[in-house]
Amino acid sequence: MRLLRSAFFLLIVRPVLTIVLGANVRHRERLPRSGPAIIVANHNSHLDTLTILALFPLGDLPRLRPVAAADYFMTNKAMAWFATNIIGIIPIDRGKRNEGANPLQPCEDALDRGDILILFPEGSRGEPERLTQFKKGVAHLVKARPATPVHPVFMHGLGKALPKDALLLVPFNCDIVVGEPVRWGDSVDGFMDVLQSRMAALAATVRMPPWE
């Protein structure tokens, strides 16, 4: 399975990303070399997860765990197989907060194992290429594991290439900017403010032609 995963990234994801999309990556050196760590990115497209996974060396694949909604990815059998085995997601139940169990437990366990989590705090892909308010789950996760660095990554262009509900991939060059890691401060709201403003600052460094 590990071989299949590596082959999928080496033979399909990377060529498509370099040729069809031509990612321009800035500050790749800021990515974490080892876990535990959290990557936080804006979400515009199904390509987002693949793109972030492809930023790392192939050998890091087993350590990289995208966090994804169970209700979206785990309902269909084929999709569930692909999501867990090839992409390596950690499925999370959205909106079951009041039943006593901690929905973030699998994420905390993964951090304890030294994995690198990939989180999209916007919650869904939503309106493509528009940065929306982050959800606070990531702050609660960092509060539980305060030593974990959180690396913001801003991406532009993937939402134009393959937005929500689109069937065909249209080639566009895309920009990826990696920011300096954010650390846990003293409150959930304070952390979210820092993270959100750090992401906005990264977004401001990218030239985004109008797309109305």
Binding site: L168, V170, P171, F172, N173, P209, P210, W211, E212
Partner: protein
């Protein structure tokens, strides 16, 4: 001498390019040692990228015609992608862009099978009429004219104009000059860029179009024009069916139109507020920055040769 004799003109010229590249690399290395700084670091990057580009181009041109055509189509694809990524686009036109991309294989296929009429009409007639029609069916009129204008121009420069490079391969195959005519065009266009840059750095005083391209000077432009014309006079008889004087005239035209292409793409970038079209080629910018002169010199050179030297019967 016997080894030189056994080389084809194309191989000999490519050998000459590498010799020139080695000389340039040595010069830049010396310059870097005597004057370290940002300018020489940039120059080094540029020369390293030249090695890459010339190697890829050499392999593509020397392999065979299909590989060469596919390579040229890929360059056109990269240029179009850069263009479409830079301009403002309407969300509703996303599916239209797929048709624009599909125009590339079609255009280069027409070049490959030497269907001159189809090649000449496919984009300026069929795509030109068909795309706005399709966009009308989409039903959104807001920003319609702007979108039609930008897509049409982009397709003309990145697919139609650059497509003429593949047409030169067909022409070369027909006249048994092989990749010669294409090599003639590309070498002279790129050489002219370098010659203009060098003459401009050495003697440049009087700016031509400071509001568009502040580094372009009359001295650089004229220096490039004369040097390129002279080189064309020497290379033309080997690489093309044209004798010395016609070759020199072709070189003159390539240098002049190449310059116009260069500043036209500069004007386009300036309007969008970017310095380079992308960061694909270190020291050069994007593909569009590298093929800017070719966008003009390729069609003008081809049609000059076709109409004036072959009376319209080159293909």
């Amino acid at each position: 001498m016997t080894m030189l004799d056994s080389l084809s003109p194309v191989q000999a010229v490519i050998g000459g390019i590498y010799a020139l590249l080695i000389v340039a690399s040595v010069l830049v290395a010396v310059l870097r040692r005597s004057k370290p700084g940002d300018a020489t670091t940039e120059l080094t990057k540029r020369v390293v990228s030249w090695w890459w580009m010339i190697t890829v181009f050499t392999i593509a041109v020397l392999t065979d015609r299909v590989v060469s055509t596919v390579f040229l189509g890929f360059v056109s694809f990269l240029a179009l992608k850069e263009y479409l990524s830079l301009i403002p686009t309407r969300r509703v036109d996303r599916s239209i862009l797929i048709f624009v991309y599909v125009a590339i294989p079609v255009q280069f296929y027409f070049a490959h099978i030497t269907r001159f009429g189809l090649f000449m009409t496919f984009i300026p007639v069929w795509m030109f009429l068909f795309l706005p029609g399709l966009m009308t069916v989409m039903g959104r009129t807001e920003g319609f004219l702007r979108a039609v204008g930008m897509l049409s121009w982009g397709m003309m420069i990145t697919v139609f104009s650059l497509g003429h490079t593949a047409l030169l391969l067909s022409f070369g195959a027909k006249t048994s000059y092989g990749a010669g005519p294409l090599l003639f065009l590309v070498v002279l266009t790129q050489f002219n860029d370098v010659a203009q840059f060098t003459w401009g750095k050495l003697l440049g005083r009087h700016k031509i179009v400071p509001s568009v391209s502040p580094n372009k000077t009359w001295e650089g432009f004229l220096g490039g024009l004369v040097t390129t014309t002279l080189i064309a006079r020497v290379l033309g008889p080997y690489l093309t069916p044209m004798p010395e004087l016609w070759s020199a005239l072709a070189g003159f035209i390539i240098a002049g139109t190449g310059f116009i292409g260069d500043i036209t793409i500069s004007a386009f970038k300036r309007d969008l507020g970017v310095k380079d079209a992308s960061n694909l080629i270190p020291g050069h910018g994007g593909i569009l920055d590298r093929v800017d002169s070719l966008v003009y010199s390729a069609p003008v050179f081809f049609h000059f040769m076709n109409y004036f030297f072959f009376n319209g019967r080159a293909l």
